[in-house]
Symmetry: C2
Amino acid sequence: MTADNQRRSKGRRTREAILSRAVDLASIEGLQRLTIGRLAGEMGMSKSGLFAHFGSKEELLLATVGKARATFEEQVMRPALVAERGLPRLWSLCEAWLDYASGAVFPGGCFFTAASAEFDSRPGQVRDAIADTMRDWLRSLERAVGLASEVGHLPGHIDPSALAFELHALSMGANWAWLLLDDSSAFDRVRARLKDRLETLALPGAPALFLHSAVSDSVDADADDEAGPPDSVAADR
Amino acid sequence: MTADNQRRSKGRRTREAILSRAVDLASIEGLQRLTIGRLAGEMGMSKSGLFAHFGSKEELLLATVGKARATFEEQVMRPALVAERGLPRLWSLCEAWLDYASGAVFPGGCFFTAASAEFDSRPGQVRDAIADTMRDWLRSLERAVGLASEVGHLPGHIDPSALAFELHALSMGANWAWLLLDDSSAFDRVRARLKDRLETLALPGAPALFLHSAVSDSVDADADDEAGPPDSVAADR
């Protein structure tokens, strides 16, 4: 490796380390509070050292959203692709999002939900980058719903975009209840509700995991989740 | 009226006018950007004039949340109390929230959803006031669900807190899609989904408005909403 390459490689590593810290901080405190001065202090660097990597606050914010997006794709979107097409893949996306939002990836919950609220009224590249990421995420859920219909796990007349939106809105609700109301059980409750929703829609050809047990045919699926014997699902397999 | 009373009355009116402006601004730009200097400029007042009403930024923020809460109670929570107990009252709460969030009350959508994201990681009185308001709102929905079970519109074994949470999470999703993704149709789509959800749970004794028409018995209620003849519900009445 030439000295030039070594310098560039070290520069990239430093930049990645700064951005990792920036994403964690922003997930807790918000993107707006991320300043070059603040981040320099956190990293034990000089402001001018940090300026060498990001020329402006706008550039720092854009790079931070880009880093969060890459992490989100890697931790939430990509792993689900190994799951079987159909309900298993859709469910894998749902579970990965709930894990991600409950602090497994960023300490402050869902980076993009927080960033959405901060930037939805501030037109510009940062808002666009946040919105693009969320549109991509909704499209991933939609594609998974569409595939589930194609392979016969869900009825063909389901509107993928409506169901994708519903699954995502409920999940964001769990993130909200955890962060504002200190209700960490919200993730488990939403997980059960999402599962129940998919079970209600699942066709007989779906994997056994997604088929309601006989006891669950009454009108209130939520109550069934709590009251129904969990073994009855396993017995159906 | 004595001169003293007149002065106090004028003071109250000025304070209310300042807070109305503060709530509107905060609903768009966020509570954090609300400073005494900013607000003084908006109101054409001096900073010291504004300081006479609110001694500190913390006090200003608390008063702003208090004003938003009073407006929320008046515009969303109270009107529903005149609706018939049961599903009509629950539905009235849901519709009032969607109207409120879609800009009918504050220009920037739901004040409390925005404030939640801003303050969930900042312990203190402002966060507590936001969380209290949201807990009260969820309790109102829960009470309405409980009453709907009591009067025989919903099954008795429904978990009021789970259903209240679900209805609220979906509604917050519409607010999110509107503000971040510029998707103003999200309110109508969520309204249809909430209605469908309540129809799925409604018992035969519920008002006709909440009873699924015969065509809606198939597995995907979302698709039915779009495909089913809207007149069939009216014909059932």
